[in-house]
Symmetry: C2
Subunit: 344 residues, 2 copies
């Protein structure tokens, strides 16, 4: 064993608005050999997720921001390259919070062994991983969909949204997906089996959304905020539930939108229609993980649930891919192939 050549992406500057290439720095630095009790990971696939924009900012949130000069945070599928840890052997596949790098040391804490490895292995970062559990647990705990209800979700071709719609169908609901552009809308219906899809870029989007939800909306799974939320609000039925999972349309905003101040409109709807709005993150509901793996794993195995990936080649392209994802230019779960020989 010897130091291993390695590349990492650091946060160099906190972005104002949309992140730019100069906010990141790609550095080469060797990864030392593991000491007793440690192991060295070779990163195969890196997951890109919207929450990363929040970690680049110093604003108050549920998790500490990435430090300036620190390695960008991120979950990865990795292979144990060498080990002086009794629990792991070279070649083991693991899920690791390795960050944006090609190699990392670990003391084993927090690693999840991928045994058996899902096919494709990147599913561990998407439909069978954090985004899938986010959809599953947020629906189960806050959305609480009942058969016959209408469940709407935005960013619907993303890994969370596509799982929300498909799980809603499994629960006997009408699933309405909102996405940007005709191609994504086609995928929602044809690939993912949504009952209806609505393009939020259409000039008459609010009217189209209303037409797609003839019985109103009982569960709105919020990933987006902004204009989509404004179109959803008047359609929410009495006792509607709104799990707030993400607000990707806000993340790059540098100021509040122009007036009027619509907070009274939101609160009036909440009161008069007894709406429940509740924020969550996936780690609030760890007790849902076993049933999630059993149910969603079964649906993937029998082909009744589908995933869609957007693959990016090479760690050095991760910064641009994150910018694209925040602007909705991806289609499906974004994963970065970090090791050239990363298995599917």
């Amino acid at each position: 064993m010897a130091p291993l050549p390695s590349t990492a992406v650091l946060l160099r500057r906190r972005p104002e608005g949309e992140p730019r290439p100069g906010d990141f720095e790609v550095v080469r630095r060797p990864c030392p050999e593991p000491e007793q009790g440690q192991l060295r990971l070779e990163v195969l696939w890196l997951s890109l997720d919207p929450y990363m924009r929040g970690r680049m900012s110093a604003a108050r949130s549920y998790a500490a921001p990435v430090e300036l000069g620190g390695v960008m945070t991120g979950q990865a599928v990795a292979r144990v390259e060498s080990s002086r840890h009794p629990g792991f052997a070279p070649g083991d596949l693991v899920l690791a919070d390795a960050g944006w790098c090609t190699a990392a040391l670990s003391d084993g804490a927090g690693l999840v062994r991928l045994v058996p490895a899902p096919k494709p292995v990147t599913a561990a970062l998407g439909v069978l991983g954090m985004p899938g559990l986010t959809a599953y647990a947020g629906l189960a705990e806050i959305g609480r969909p009942k058969a016959g209800e209408t469940v709407a979700v935005a960013a619907a071709t993303g890994p969370v949204g596509s799982a929300v719609g498909q799980i809603a169908k499994k629960r006997g609901c009408r699933a309405v997906g909102i996405a940007g552009g005709a191609e994504k809308c086609r995928l929602l219906v044809e690939h993912f089996g949504f009952d209806a899809a609505v393009d939020h870029r259409a000039p008459d989007f609010p009217a189209r959304l209303a037409a797609a939800c003839p019985d109103g909306i009982d569960v709105y799974f919020e990933n987006v905020g902004g204009a989509v939320w404004e179109a959803v609000l008047p359609l929410l039925n009495g006792f509607a539930r709104v799990p707030v999972c993400g607000l990707v349309s806000h993340y790059n905003a540098t100021a509040l939108p122009e007036g009027p101040n619509r907070v009274p409109e939101v609160m009036r709807a909440v009161l008069s229609r007894r709406i429940e709005i509740r924020g969550f993150i996936v780690w609030d509901f760890p007790h849902r993980a076993p049933e999630f793996r059993r149910e969603v794993g079964g649906w993937l195995a029998d082909g009744s649930m589908r995933a869609l990936e957007h693959r990016v080649e090479g760690l050095e392209n991760a910064p641009a891919a994150l910018v694209d994802m925040l602007a909705g230019r991806n289609t499906g779960k974004v994963v970065v192939r970090v090791a050239p020989d990363a298995p599917d």
Copy 2:
């Protein structure tokens, strides 16, 4: 039996902004004698409540608006004046949705017999009635206060707010009341036993509220909206709960406030601090009524819980009293003495 002289207050015009005297009409019309299966009620006390502003408006809500030319809606303590109904005898005291009038016919549906009658009997309209149950059930179902937490409430000298603070104290919480003016703030601490009281009219209200909540706010019972809500939002802790019971500062508004649009700020707080915001009305939680009567009835009997009434003399003064209440010019639960000899 013969027709009984009677006075009623009708809704003549839907108000724009603050209701005005011309929106109401006081009419005299005899109340017919009861037919078989009916009884005639003499109204003793009429309850005035903020929800009545909503019923004057045609906007979408959980209940139908009062019709133009219809009798204003309202709950009352009434005495059976004459009866051809087997379940009621003259002299019986009942709680009735009699509306703003001095006499009314009933077929008995929805009447609640006040046996034994609370002392004062007007408690049936306040701390032991709809407002008290609103506080009790909204806290229990949505607020879910835990010992050691901070519970804040606005309109805190009102019948809902004062019950919220006192029940929060019973649950081992720190109770912080928000009210308009020094006299109300004094009452909150000295009469109702709140830990702290903050005057929302003070120019440095947000800073005072923050100082009164050194550990943040875990439950904010929302009766008011507007500037109070804006001061509360930054103080809400992770996993805070916000039962939305009323928005009295909005009810007379004829337009949305000026910008910026603060909805993204609210939603970001909901997401990053996992806040739960949920609207309700008291009738959503009828199953809480028995324990409410047992617990709150016991506290009133042993003197460990208090109420405060604002009494108005004469039905013809009800319109002005409603306008005053919506502007916060009352102190305590507003009841109108409709019958000159109405018992305490």
